[in-house]
């Protein structure tokens, strides 16, 4: 078990981390958030590589920057550094510095990470993906009690990702990783933590955090469409909200009033050609941009307000959608999320500062 208690850290001006509290048991915790919010700093503090300005890290109940505790953690850097030696020597080094060199263990690890074929290659001859694999092998060969991985999937080839996913699933102990790969994190993690501006902005199960986030910042990060509007009243028990001159119907159990913020998941935005009107929220729009991302494509739509839609590339091709084309946009009233005021994290932070 690893626990961080009221962690504050700064590199000079202003705090990068502002009172982080967290506890990770035998589970996979993924830390997500935009760049520069303190993910790497937090991971390095949890790995006892950086001493925080304030607060403590407990490894199995003990707190110190002691070598004995540091050796319980396997850490992999976002941009790993390999020593000027062969792949084999790099993977063996964690055992050698401990005086626990075990040829069999190193060879096993090299096979596990598909590095056996390139074991005699020198570090400078490796590709980015190979470097990442060596760095991960180096973290695993130590047989750590806790795994801390900083962006482990960045630069990793598909085979490497598969290996890593398997190794993480097999690992018995706390795994903490920072990642930008939301979909991978979703499948792999027991818990997600959204870090923003040095505080834990929101945390929860992956499906809760990504599908129905409580905070606007989490929603924006997860790719949700965020729009602002003003409640105009009710029609047949459904709230009517004016967004950029367009009437949007929003289903809500409680009564709404004044200015509100709404969230729509891109996969809930349906695109049709022609002027079909099968749901209450049917608007006209124009395709601004199409980004193909493998089996799924992102369509940017211009209309009364900007929207992003996610559709399968197959549908995109079947419908023969093109940039500049006029389309109809359909959104179910029940698919629109209403955001409360900014979540409590900010309030708590203000109290501390």
């Amino acid at each position: 078990m690893i626990r961080a208690e009221d962690i504050w850290h700064s590199y000079g001006r202003g705090y990068v981390l502002k009172g982080i509290n967290l506890e990770v048991r035998d589970e996979v915790l993924s830390i997500i958030g935009p760049v520069g919010v303190g993910k790497t700093t937090l991971l390095k503090i949890l790995s006892l590589l950086i001493k925080p300005k304030r607060g403590k890290v407990y490894i199995g109940g003990e707190s110190s920057m002691d070598l004995r505790l540091r050796r319980k953690i396997g850490f992999s850097h976002q941009n790993p550094f390999l020593f000027d030696a062969t792949v084999y020597e790099n993977v063996a080094l964690p055992l050698k510095v401990r005086g626990e060199y075990d040829k069999k263990r190193v060879e096993e690890c090299l096979h596990d990470f598909s590095l056996w074929e390139i074991k005699d290659k020198r570090a400078r001859e490796l590709s980015g993906g190979e470097i990442k694999r060596v760095s991960l092998a180096r973290a695993f060969v130590q047989r750590p009690e806790i795994l801390v991985l900083d962006e482990p999937m960045t630069n990793l080839d598909p085979e490497g990702i598969k290996i890593l996913e398997r190794k993480i699933r097999e690992f018995k102990g706390p795994v903490i990783m920072a990642t930008h790969e939301l979909y991978k994190a979703r499948g792999l993690s027991d818990r997600l933590l959204f870090l923003h501006d040095g505080v834990i902005y929101e945390e929860g199960k992956p499906e809760d955090l990504l599908d129905s986030p409580k905070g606007i910042k989490t929603a924006l990060f997860s790719g949700m469409n965020i729009i602002e509007g003003e409640v105009r009243g009710k029609e047949e028990g459904i709230n009517v909200v004016d967004v950029g001159g367009e009437r949007i119907y929003v289903a809500s159990e409680r009564g709404l009033s004044g200015k509100i913020t709404l969230g729509i998941r891109p996969e809930d935005v349906v695109i049709t050609k022609g002027e079909k009107k099968s749901t209450r929220n049917t608007m006209r729009g124009k395709i601004k941009n199409i980004v193909r991302r493998g089996p799924v494509s992102e369509v940017e739509i211009e209309g009364a307000f900007p929207l992003k839609a996610l559709i399968t590339t197959k549908s995109l091709e079947e419908m023969d959608l093109r940039e500049g084309e006029e389309i109809s946009v359909l959104i179910k009233a029940t698919a629109i999320k209403i955001f409360e005021d900014e979540i409590q994290a900010q309030g708590k932070l203000k109290d501390k500062i």
Partner: protein
């Protein structure tokens, strides 16, 4: 013409392996090599501490080290002379006018250069140090791994410092006294012999000094590649 003649005689001294010339050269290498070793024993641990630790006054210490890059050799000589003269606080040691104090003087002279450059190169390798820590190395082992990673730069620094030590004359002449067969090194011999009019010996030593500087330079350039 006189210069050409002198040069010819100097070359003869070199190729005939003149005992006096080569004794002086050997002593120079021994004194400066020892100074380099002494300085390294002190400078490496201090530089490692300053590179990978943060404490109050670190910046001020770094500024002081950089200021001493261009420490005048005669100042070091004067300082040691006062300290180790018979009336001085360390006069009892009796090392004034011996090779030992010359070694000490040259070590003082090159320590700021070794420390300053080493700190600058190690400081750029924070990721190496951190990686070493993350794989379970002790701080000491992490420092060694980092220095090993910077080995070509470190060798360059050592060569540069050795060059500075072997080519200085102010300190060596003040605290060594240029005693024939005991504290006479290349630079002090060149200074004395040329003032005595013994241009051949001065020139032959000068040529050797230049050759040493040239070899050091070639090795340093190769290492940088």
């Amino acid at each position: 013409m006189e210069l050409v003649e002198a040069l010819g005689r100097a070359l003869y001294l070199l190729v005939s392996f003149d005992k006096e010339v080569y004794t002086i050269v050997g002593r120079s290498l021994l004194v400066s090599g020892s100074a380099l070793l002494l300085s390294s024993l002190f400078s490496f641990p201090v530089s490692s501490l300053l590179s990978f630790s943060s404490f109050r006054g670190r910046g001020a210490l770094l500024s002081i080290i950089r200021t001493f890059y261009s420490l005048p050799t005669v100042c070091v000589g004067l300082f040691l002379f006062v300290l180790f003269s018979r009336e001085g606080p360390l006069g009892f040691s009796g090392i004034l006018f011996t090779p030992y104090i010359m070694i000490l003087g040259q070590a003082i002279l090159i320590s700021p250069i070794i420390m300053g450059l080493l700190i600058s190169h190690l400081g750029k390798r924070w990721e190496v140090f951190e990686t070493a820590l993350s794989i379970g190395a002790t701080r000491r082992r992490a420092v060694i791994l980092t220095i090993f990673d910077a080995r070509s730069e470190v060798l360059g620094i050592l060569l540069l410092s050795f060059g500075r030590a072997i080519s200085e004359v102010g300190c060596a002449i003040m605290v060594g006294g240029n005693i024939k067969g005991f504290t006479r090194v290349m630079t002090t011999a060149i200074a004395l012999e040329s003032s005595k009019g013994n241009i051949e010996l001065a020139l032959s030593l000068g040529i050797i000094l230049l050759i040493i500087a040239f070899i050091i330079n070639i090795i340093a350039v190769r290492l940088e590649r």
